[in-house]
Symmetry: D3
């Protein structure tokens, strides 16, 4: 019953989400032996100013 | 000091949130013996296209 | 496809887990209209010394 | 490789986010001995009506 | 700065963890265009009795 | 009602946990104006082999 949470800075296109979810599910299913249907993925698209690295807020790419 | 995170696809009405939080708090308080005031719940309403099951993005209900 | 994460201080008996998961699933299913089978719950039992409230670590009950 | 998630009710100004991330990174780096660059923080700004305490939804401050 | 959390029922071997982290990082890097070094993954191995589906605790495979 | 989750590789001493929780609570309380008592922190100590950066599992320091 794997649960996966992917948090990214900024947004993804629907195609990117589709490909990431397909690819991540394939990898985890193949390696863990769990059926793909059991794998649940949540993507969080987080604004750059809500993420910090090294104590500094990220800035969005221009 | 129970912390609960509930992630749902799509949105909930304020009444649904109210009833879910009341009901979940009652269940956990009764079973664990912790006072209701100690129970903190966060609800995340997540877009269908940000959730995948079996490697496929959810589609919103029509 | 609701996902629920419940984090508690200390441990729960298997009966407490069973009753909490049954009760929480019932509440969310009834209020949200999602089938119970779609509801996935993860319980995290966290040591008291890994939780702080008001800046002070919890102490386990004697 | 510390990961920190801070969830608050309502919104924060960019200055509040900047100061919180700077301060939290300093504290964790100093105490754990990890370099600041290794510390990743995600802030979630959550609507009051999506948070409950004691089974009751929060109300936003007027 | 993608952050990934993978929660599985039971345990994984070190090889399974290695392959899952390699594969998931490759997929996300390729699709999102972020460099692999920016991708941080945390795996949580959760006991079966701490996970419920449909309101019923999982039972470990024999 | 801020909720904070801090995930670190390896373990922390009780003094490190105490100082981190005190310091993080002070920073967030001061910047956000929320009373310290409202701030709840959970620390997760995660084994190195359950964390990956750049697709490679961390190795514990010798």
């Amino acid at each position: 019953m794997p649960y996966v949470n992917i948090r990214v800075a900024g947004t993804l296109s629907k195609d990117q989400k589709r490909n990431i979810c397909k690819g991540v599910t394939d990898v985890i299913s193949k390696e863990s032996g769990k059926p793909p249907e059991a794998i649940l993925i949540f993507i969080d698209e987080v604004e750059h100013e809500n993420i910090a690295k090294g104590g500094t807020l990220l800035t969005p790419p221009r």
